[in-house]
C-alpha cells in the first residue's frame, strides 16, 4: 500500500474504530484514536511532501484500486500528489489535527464523545479523498462524503429540531449544487473521454481543444462550487450550519470543506483559462457574495453568525481571485484563511465555553481580562483577517486586491473598489465583534459572570498555535510556490505603478476599519446606537439578512410544497395512482360478482353447457370449414 493511500485510510480506520468500539472502550481510547489517526496522517503527508521535493516536484501518482473498466477506459481509485494537493492536504491534516485536539477539551462533557470523533474522522477521510483524488470521480465521492459528514455534524445534537433542520438544509442546498457538478462531469466525459483531472487540463490547454464549450463545463462545475463553498445563490446553508459544535464550524465550515469549491476551480484551471465567460461569472458572483455577506455581518449579534458571514465573504474573495485567473493567490487565501478563521472560531468556542453557552454578543463585554489567552489569540486572528500587516491575512488579501485591479484576465477599477469596500467592512465588523465581546462593561447576567473561566490547556494551546500561524503564515509565499503549476495572470500594461498604491490602500483600509470600530463601539457604544436608530430600516434589513431566507421560502419552498401537495399528492398519487388501482380492483370485484352467478354448483348445467359448446363449435366448423 502506498503512502498516499495510507493518508486517506488512516482517518477511515479511526472512524471505524471509534464508531464500533468507542462507546465500549472509554474516553481515553477515543481520544487516542481520534487525535492519533489525523496526527499520523499529518506526519505521512509531510513525508509525502518531502518525497515530492526530493523527486524534483514531479507529481506522485498512485493507483489504489481499479474500480471498473468500460471499454478502453478504466475508472480507478487513484491518488495524485502535486504542489496544489500538497498545500491542501497539509492544511486539511494539520488544521484538522489541531481541531481534533481542541475538541477533546470542548466536547469533554458530551455524552456522545465517541460518535463525535468518529464523525470528525469520517470527515477527514472524505476530505482527503477529495484533495488527493486523481480523477473527478474520486473527487466527487469525497465531495459527497464531506457533505454527508457535514450533515451529520451540523445535526450532531439532533434532539433539537432546529439543529436537525439546519443539517437538512445544508444537505439539500448542497444537492442543488451537486446536480450542476454531476452534469459538468457528464459533459466532460462525453467530450474528453476521461475523468482524470491532469488529462482533462491537458486536453483543454493542449493543441486540439475538445468539442465542447469550456465555459459550459466551467459554469456547471462552478454551480457545484457555489453549493459547497457557499456562494450566491446557494450560500444560505452556511450561516445555519453554525448549529453544529463550534470545532466543527471551525474545521468544516471555515477552514477546509467550504474551500473545496475553490480547490476544484483551481484544480480545473485548465478549463477556466479557456473560459473567459465562466471566469467573468465567477468574479461577479464572488464579488457580490463578498460584499453582501460583509454587509450582513455588520448587523448580526450571534458571535458565530458574524464569523459565518465573514467566512462567506472571505470565500467570495477567493472566488474573485479565481475569476481573475490568480489561482495560486486564491489557494494562498485558502491557506491563510484556514489559520485565522479556525483560530477565530475556536476562540469563539472558548468564549462560548466561558459564557456557559451564551452566543449573543450583546450579553458579553469586558471578557478581555477574564480570559486573557482567548482574548489575545482572538485579537491576533481578528487583526489577521482585517489585513493588518505583517499578519497572514494582509498578504493574501493584498494580493487579491492587486489582481482584482491589475489582472489582464478581468481586473478593473470597479472590481478593486468593490473588493476594497468589502475589505473595509471586514475590518470594521471584525473589530466590532472584538470590541463588543472583549471590551466595555460586562453585560451578562450575574450567574454567568460568576462562572467565567479560561478554557483548559488542550483548547488554549491550540488557540496559541493557530494564532502564531495566523501571524507568520503569510511569509510563506504560496502563489510563488504554486507558480510552476498555476501560473499567475499577466499584469495589464501601465498598472505596475499602482502596486504600492494598492498595498498602502489595503493597510489604510484595515486601520480605518479598526478606528471606525473603536469610535463606534468603544466605551458605551453610543455612536453605534445613534447610527442604528437613524438607519433603523437599513439595520432591520441587514439584521434579517436581506430576507433572502424568507424570499427562498416564498419563491421556492412554498410553491414546491403547494405543487407537491395539490398536484403530486392529491392529483398524481391519490387520484391517478391510487385511483387506477382502486378502480381496477373494484372492476374486478364487480365483474367477479356477476360471473360467479354462472357457478351454480349444478353438475347437470355444466354438462349441458359442455354439450352446447360442443354443438356450437361443430356447427361453426361445418359452416366455415
Amino acid at each position: 500500500m502506498g503512502l498516499l493511500t495510507l493518508i486517506v485510510l488512516l482517518p477511515l480506520l479511526g472512524f471505524v474504530l471509534n464508531g464500533l468500539l468507542g462507546n465500549r472502550l472509554g474516553k481515553g481510547f477515543v481520544t487516542a484514536v481520534g487525535c492519533g489517526m489525523p496526527a499520523i496522517a499529518f506526519a505521512v503527508t509531510i513525508k509525502c511532501f518531502l518525497d515530492l521535493q526530493g523527486g524534483g516536484w514531479a507529481p506522485i501518482a498512485e493507483t489504489a484500486y481499479v474500480w471498473t473498466m468500460v471499454g478502453q477506459d478504466s475508472f480507478e481509485v487513484a491518488f495524485w500528489f502535486d504542489r496544489l494537493t500538497a498545500v491542501m492536504a497539509l492544511i486539511v491534516t494539520g488544521v484538522g489535527t489541531l481541531i481534533h485536539v481542541y475538541s477533546t477539551g470542548y466536547m469533554h462533557e458530551d455524552k456522545s464523545y465517541a460518535r463525535y470523533f468518529a464523525y470528525l474522522n469520517l470527515f477527514l477521510f472524505f476530505m482527503l479523498l477529495l484533495v488527493l483524488g486523481k480523477s473527478l470521480l474520486v473527487l466527487f465521492v469525497g465531495w459527497e462524503g464531506v457533505g454527508l459528514a457535514s450533515y451529520l455534524l451540523i445535526g450532531f445534537w439532533f434532539g433539537d429540531m432546529e439543529k436537525a433542520a439546519a443539517g437538512k438544509k445544508a444537505f439539500i442546498v448542497n444537492r442543488i449544487g451537486d446536480a450542476g457538478f454531476l452534469l459538468g462531469m457528464f459533459v466532460i466525459y462525453s467530450a474528453v473521454g476521461t475523468l482524470d483531472m491532469p488529462r482533462i487540463n491537458q486536453a483543454f490547454t493542449g493543441g486540439a481543444v475538445p468539442a465542447v464549450s469550456a465555459s459550459l463545463v466551467g459554469l456547471l462545475l462552478f454551480i457545484g462550487a457555489t453549493g459547497k463553498s457557499a456562494q450566491i445563490p446557494l450560500y444560505v446553508w452556511l450561516p445555519d450550519a453554525m448549529a453544529g459544535p463550534t470545532p466543527v464550524s471551525a474545521l468544516i465550515h471555515a477552514a477546509t470543506m467550504v474551500t473545496a469549491g475553490v480547490y476544484l476551480v483551481a484544480r480545473m484551471s485548465g478549463i477556466y483559462l479557456n473560459a473567459p465567460e465562466a471566469s467573468t461569472v465567477i468574479t461577479a458572483v464572488g464579488a457580490l457574495t463578498a460584499l453582501m455577506a460583509a454587509t450582513i455581518a455588520l448587523a448580526q449579534d450571534d458571535i458565530k453568525k458574524v464569523l459565518a458571514y465573514s467566512t462567506v465573504s472571505q470565500l467570495g474573495f477567493m472566488f474573485v481571485a479565481l475569476g481573475v485567473g490568480a489561482y495560486g493567490v486564491a489557494v494562498f487565501h485558502v491557506y491563510t484563511h484556514a489559520f485565522f478563521k479556525a483560530c477565530l472560531f475556536l476562540g469563539a468556542g472558548s468564549v462560548i465555553h466561558a459564557m456557559s453557552g451564551e452566543q449573543d454578543i450583546k450579553k458579553m463585554g469586558g471578557l478581555a481580562k477574564k480570559i486573557p489567552i482567548t482574548f489575545f489569540t482572538f485579537a491576533l486572528a481578528t487583526a489577521a483577517i482585517a489585513g493588518i500587516p505583517p499578519l497572514a491575512g494582509f498578504f493574501s488579501k493584498d494580493e487579491i486586491l492587486w489582481y482584482a485591479l491589475a489582472s489582464d484576465r478581468g481586473g478593473s477599477w470597479l472590481l478593486l473598489a468593490v473588493m476594497a469596500s468589502t475589505a473595509l467592512l471586514t475590518a470594521f465588523y471584525m473589530f466590532r465583534l472584538l470590541w463588543l465581546t472583549f471590551f466595555g462593561k460586562p453585560r451578562m447576567l450575574k450567574d454567568v459572570e460568576h462562572h467565567i473561566h479560561e478554557s483548559p490547556p488542550s483548547m488554549t494551546g491550540v488557540l496559541v498555535v493557530l494564532a502564531l500561524l495566523s501571524a507568520v503564515g503569510g511569509f510563506l509565499s504560496i502563489p510563488h510556490f504554486l507558480e510552476p503549476m498555476l501560473a499567475l495572470p499577466g499584469v495589464k500594461p501601465g498598472m505596475d505603478a499602482f502596486h504600492y498604491f494598492v498595498v498602502g490602500g489595503s493597510i489604510a483600509i484595515a486601520l480605518v476599519g479598526l478606528a471606525g470600530a473603536a469610535f463606534f463601539f468603544g466605551g458605551e457604544a453610543l455612536p453605534a446606537a445613534r447610527i442604528k436608530a437613524s438607519f433603523a430600516g437599513l439595520y432591520r434589513v441587514l439584521n434579517n439578512k436581506y430576507y433572502v431566507d424568507e424570499f427562498y421560502d416564498r419563491a421556492i419552498n412554498r410553491p414546491l410544497l403547494w405543487i407537491s401537495d395539490a398536484v403530486f399528492l392529491k392529483v398524481g398519487d391519490r387520484l391517478l395512482v391510487d385511483g387506477t388501482l382502486n378502480g381496477l380492483a373494484a372492476l374486478a370485484q364487480r365483474a367477479a360478482g356477476r360471473l360467479s352467478r354462472v357457478q351454480t354448483g349444478s353438475l347437470h348445467k355444466y354438462a349441458f353447457m359442455v354439450l352446447a359448446g360442443m354443438v356450437a363449435s361443430l356447427v361453426w366448423m361445418w359452416r366455415n370449414g
Partner: protein, 100 residues
C-alpha cells in the same frame, strides 16, 4: 345402409345416450356409468374406422382410452365414496358447496 354406417350410427347413439344420461340423471354412480357409455361409443367409432381404413392408429387410440378410462374411474369412485360419506346421499344436486 351398409355395415359400417350401421356401426357408426350405433356408436353415435351410444354417445348420445350417455350424454343424455349425464345431463338428466341425478345419481352420481349412474352419471359415471353414462360417461363410460360415452367413452365406449367413441371407442366403437374408432374401432370401426380402424377396421375400414386398415390402419392401426385407431386401434391404438382405443387402448389409450381404455387406460385413461380405468385411471379416471379409479379416481372417481373414491371421490364419490368420500362425498357419500360426508353427505349420506348420491344425489348430485346436493354437492353444490362451491356455487358462486
Amino acid at each position: 345402409m351398409d355395415k359400417v354406417q350401421m356401426l357408426q350410427v350405433l356408436a353415435a347413439s351410444l354417445f348420445a345416450l350417455g350424454l343424455t344420461g349425464v345431463i338428466i340423471r341425478r345419481n352420481v354412480l349412474v352419471m359415471l356409468m353414462c360417461m363410460e357409455l360415452m367413452l365406449n361409443g367413441v371407442n366403437l367409432s374408432l374401432a370401426t374406422f380402424a377396421h375400414t381404413l386398415g390402419s392401426a392408429v385407431g386401434a391404438v387410440l382405443v387402448f389409450l382410452i381404455f387406460v385413461v378410462a380405468a385411471a379416471e374411474i379409479a379416481i372417481a369412485i373414491p371421490v364419490v365414496l368420500l362425498l357419500v360419506r360426508r353427505k349420506r346421499t348420491l344425489d348430485i344436486e346436493s354437492y353444490s358447496d362451491l356455487k358462486g
